[in-house]
């Protein structure tokens, strides 16, 4: 089972009716057309740039620092991995939370939700389209960080064979492949968080409130994950599996944790999308 199939329950076109992609395209135009969203993406992209330059100008040798940072001088691709690691706890979830929290509550706040509901699409499809746009945004945000990181790293440190966590070396092409796998894995994880955000967004008419709630949920999961006395709870936390992307960098790739992480994300996505549907499709739209 591919996680992407589970994550986009309503986006797949039904065989009977030809579904136009106009609705989705207009959603994407709104997300990627807003200046605040582009500014947010720019902030995400700045982190790998700063990181690469900081490592370049500092004295070589002396390892240490956050994970992967010491490996950057060996291979520029690690700028992408290090930047993803640095943005994993807050920056990327904040970006997802801002867009997801805005998705329904933002329309309600602006008073455009009732007009949106007049298009002959149905609330279920509306929610499906909104979620498909969120999944695409998750991918774009993650891929942007990885791409800027890879380009900066290759420009400043060069490529060549890559040293994996297991100490073995692999080819540059294989390294790029592993970076793509990492981006896809994190996209699935952030898509699950986006489903949580979509649900919260149907509960309120205040987009800021929904965004803050998503970030709170995210930070709360990180806090719970750090309390060792709650170890029985950890496998059920979405964020517990985020750093599992490191398993992609082992030789051979360790799949157990990654599969478990994908399953957890799929369950979060399905449960919260259905909860959003249950809430939204029976809601009185007053604004």
């Amino acid at each position: 089972m591919s996680a992407a199939e589970v994550l986009r329950p309503a986006a797949a076109p039904s065989p009977r009716a030809r579904v136009s992609t106009r609705f989705l395209r207009s959603e994407l135009a709104i997300i990627f057309g807003r200046r605040r969203n582009l500014a947010g993406l720019a902030v995400l992209a700045v982190v790998p740039v700063i990181l690469a330059i900081a490592v370049r100008v500092s004295s070589p040798g002396r390892g240490g620092g956050p994970d992967f940072v010491s490996a950057i001088t060996g291979n520029g691709l690690f700028v992408a991995f290090a930047a993803l690691t640095l943005e994993l706890p807050l920056f990327l979830p904040l970006a997802i939370g801002a867009i997801a929290g805005d998705s329904v509550a933002g329309e309600a706040n602006l008073g455009t939700l009732r007009y949106l509901l007049t298009i002959p699409a149905g609330r279920t499809r509306l929610l499906g389209t909104k979620y498909a746009a969120l999944v695409l945004f998750s991918f774009v945000a993650t891929a942007l960080v990885a791409l800027v990181g890879a380009v900066m790293g290759l420009a400043l440190f060069g490529g060549g064979p890559m040293t994996l966590l297991s100490g073995t070396q692999t080819s540059f092409v294989d390294g790029v492949g592993r970076l793509v796998l990492t981006v896809l894995y994190l996209t699935v994880q952030f898509s699950a968080l986006a489903a949580v955000g979509l649900f919260i967004s149907t509960l309120t008419e205040q987009p800021i409130g929904a965004t803050i709630a998503v970030v709170l949920v995210n930070v709360m999961m990180f806090i719970l994950d750090s309390i060792s006395q709650l170890s029985w709870l950890h496998p059920w936390l979405l964020t517990h599996w985020w750093t599992m992307f490191g398993d992609v960098l082992r030789d051979p790739i360790a799949t157990e944790g990654i599969v478990r992480g994908l399953l957890t994300a799929a369950v979060y996505a399905v449960v919260f999308w259905l909860a959003a549907w249950a809430r939204f499709s029976s809601k009185d739209i007053t604004s």
Partner: protein, 361 residues
């Protein structure tokens, strides 16, 4: 859908149903272990099986959990760390590959880090991704082969098994179970229960694979909780790729060469020195009690507290006192220890009260 239109509240049953299905499938996985029963085997047969276990190769994932009740040690790292010193606390996942007695690879997986030990018969490598460091040691062929076996060694596995059983018999209740599942494999379990209730260890279990007779899991229980466990989470038997056991340090890594130990016959002076040291160590430590409740009392080397890490650790332990004087108590889950202020240490898998008795003697 018209059903949902007339009763909108029922829509909430959809996310709830998914939750129930996920929760139920989790329970099924947890309880679907009871219905594979292997033919009964006695403890003696299992001990013989263990000695005759032979596998050509395997790869698997091992999970190790330790809850020894030791206060966290500053700088030693805890759960999720890939450092080898972190294994004494928390939970860790290791990947292992094995191919014959001289080829093995162990990878300690941490969050975004890994430590490896790779041996291929002629070379032994260790690798730490977080330090970007490797050590290399050249192994000598047949290094262990020339050790003469002691003359009273058991001649057959059966004899060895009988001897073990007769030795532990007076202190330990030995039983077996044949309906255990470890790493999705049907397994036997050898259960050792101390007869003396004053021991902190309530049970030690060794799970033995029903087919290959390889030990799959070892657990140490204190009361009803597992204080220490190391066992396979998944395992596949079969020949392994030889390239798995070679290690080429990455170009940027710091490589430390460790000189092989030379096996020269010790001179008379060295022998006398070693004998003296052994005798001194013997005089410095005594064993009080027998079996599971034995307590080792020994003198600590002078200046052990000079190490800042050790001093900090000792300072965190609660104070205790008895007729023997004053000291610090480490009351763990499977063992307890007392460090006295006059430089002695008493350790045993017993309640702290027995340590007091041993120190007072």
């Amino acid at each position: 859908m018209s059903f949902f239109t007339s009763k909108p509240a029922l829509r909430w049953s959809a996310p709830l149903a998914v939750l129930v299905v996920v929760g139920a499938s989790g329970l099924v996985v947890a309880t679907a272990t009871a219905d594979n029963k292997l033919p009964e085997r006695t403890a003696e047969q299992l001990l013989v099986d263990l000695q005759q276990a032979k596998v050509d190769g395997l790869s698997g994932t091992v999970v190790q959990r330790a809850d020894l009740g030791i206060p966290s040690i500053p700088g030693a790292g805890g759960g999720d760390s890939s450092q080898l010193t972190s294994l004494i606390s928390g939970s860790h996942t290791l990947r292992v590959w094995y191919s014959g007695p001289d080829k093995a690879r162990i990878a300690v997986m941490g969050t975004l880090g890994e430590s490896d030990i790779v041996a291929d018969g002629s070379d032994l490598w260790t690798w730490s991704s977080q330090d970007n460091k490797a050590t290399h040691r050249r192994l000598q062929a047949g290094q262990h082969a020339d050790q003469a076996a002691p003359t009273d060694a058991p001649k057959t596995p059966q004899e060895a098994a009988q001897r073990v059983l007769s030795q532990v018999g007076p202190t330990t209740e030995v039983s077996t179970a044949s309906d255990v599942t470890v790493a999705d494999r049907a397994a036997y379990e050898l259960v050792l229960k101390p007869k003396d209730a004053r021991s902190k260890v309530s049970e030690v279990t060794v799970a033995v694979d029903g087919e290959t007779h390889l030990p799959l899991r070892v657990q140490v229980l204190s009361g009803d909780t597992v204080a220490f466990e190391v066992g396979y989470q998944s395992v596949t038997f079969g020949p392994q790729d030889a390239s798995r056991f070679t290690f080429n340090p990455p170009p940027a890594a710091t490589v430390t060469e460790v000189a092989p130990k030379t096996h020269q016959a010790p001179t008379a002076a060295q022998q006398a020195e070693a004998k003296k040291r052994a005798e001194a160590a013997k005089a410095d430590s005594t064993v009080v009690g027998t079996g599971w409740t034995s307590v080792v009392v020994s003198k600590l080397p002078a200046g052990y507290a000079d190490n800042a890490q050790v001093a900090e650790f000792v300072k965190r332990l609660p104070e205790t006192s008895g007729s023997w004087g004053k000291g610090r108590l480490l009351d763990g889950t499977v063992f307890s220890a007392v460090l006295t202020d006059d430089g002695r240490i008493a350790v045993g898998a017993v309640q702290p009260a027995l340590l007091d008795e041993a120190l007072a003697k």
